[in-house]
């Protein structure tokens, strides 16, 4: 069973997990967006040749 009651340390545990989730999500999103952006640009340039 999961233990989600972090008291009396909820103010420390949840921010640690929250900031970790945000950073991991941001890294994944940035990697995906950059990959799509540069692939699209390369395809566009190659199509022009």
């Amino acid at each position: 069973m999961l233990d989600l009651d972090m008291s009396p340390y909820a103010g420390f545990v949840w921010p640690a997990w929250g900031v970790s989730a945000v950073v991991l999500g941001a890294l994944a999103a940035r990697a995906g967006m950059a990959a799509r952006r540069w692939s699209a640009e390369l395809k566009r340039l190659e199509a022009e040749e």
């Binding site: 233990d3 009651d5 420390f12 640690a16 950073v23 990697a31 950059a34 990959a35 390369l42 340039l45």
Partner: protein
């Protein structure tokens, strides 16, 4: 193996691997998160022990990412290989992010357990902060020089110098008296924690390691594509 140093072969080899690496990383993250919150609270640390399940992987991956950056910088500097330089560059941002997470989550654990957010005299804390500054310096140096070849060479030298800091981070808790506890995983007499905490911790470390690998490989592939775009644009500018 050395054939993968060719950017085209690297792109062909990694393309079918990427969905599997990303998928496995996400599944392991979900499983490790479940295990982390299924573990009982520690008799001394209470629920703050759950901060360790993100703090330790963040610190480990932050160190591993710098090792990847430093070794890639060595190959970029000595053999002037473009893929090695792309690998070094691609490791910098995720490595800095993981190191920042290690500092932030460590601080969130330190306040309730040590009574302080930060200790300026602590060798482990300071050496990890220096590691973070090396990452920032590496990225700032690359961004500050317009000529990409010169930027790559200057950044590679800085990347190599920063490798010296890695053993300092690792052994700082042995060499100096610090607030930070000594190593609890990589010890001669085995890990100093019960399986109920060791299992979620190792699973989370594997998940974060795989997540870094997914981000790193994606960023290397993107960097190769970006360089092709820059090369085509430069050729067209010359022809115009």
């Amino acid at each position: 193996m050395f054939g993968l140093a060719n950017p085209d072969r690297f792109l062909r080899f990694t393309r079918p691997l990427m969905p599997a690496v990303w998928g496995l990383a996400v599944m392991l993250l979900a499983a490790a998160t479940w295990l982390a919150f299924a573990a009982p609270e520690d008799y001394q640390q209470g629920d703050t022990v759950r901060i360790m399940f993100v703090h330790v992987p963040a610190a480990s991956v932050g160190l591993a990412a710098y090792a990847a950056l430093g070794v890639s910088s060595f190959f970029a500097l000595v053999f002037r290989h473009p893929l090695a330089d792309a690998a070094a560059r691609a490791a910098a941002l995720p490595g800095a992010a993981f190191t920042a997470l290690a500092l932030i989550t460590g601080s969130l654990w330190g306040k309730p357990m040590w009574g302080a957010w930060w200790a300026w005299g602590d060798a482990r804390l300071m050496s990890v902060l220096i590691l973070f500054l090396f990452y920032l310096g590496y990225m700032a140096l690359r961004a500050s020089i317009d000529d990409e070849t010169r930027a790559a060479r200057a950044a590679a030298v800085l990347g190599l110098v920063g490798l010296v800091n890695l053993p300092i981070v690792k052994f700082s808790v042995d060499w100096w008296n610090t607030l930070h506890q000594p190593a609890s995983l990589l010890r001669a007499d085995g890990p100093a924690m019960p399986p109920v905490y060791l299992t979620p911790l190792l699973t989370m470390m594997a998940a974060w390691g795989l997540f870094f690998l997914a981000v790193w490989l994606t960023a290397i592939r993107t960097e190769i594509v970006r360089r092709r775009v820059v090369s085509i644009r430069a050729r067209r500018a010359l022809e115009a």
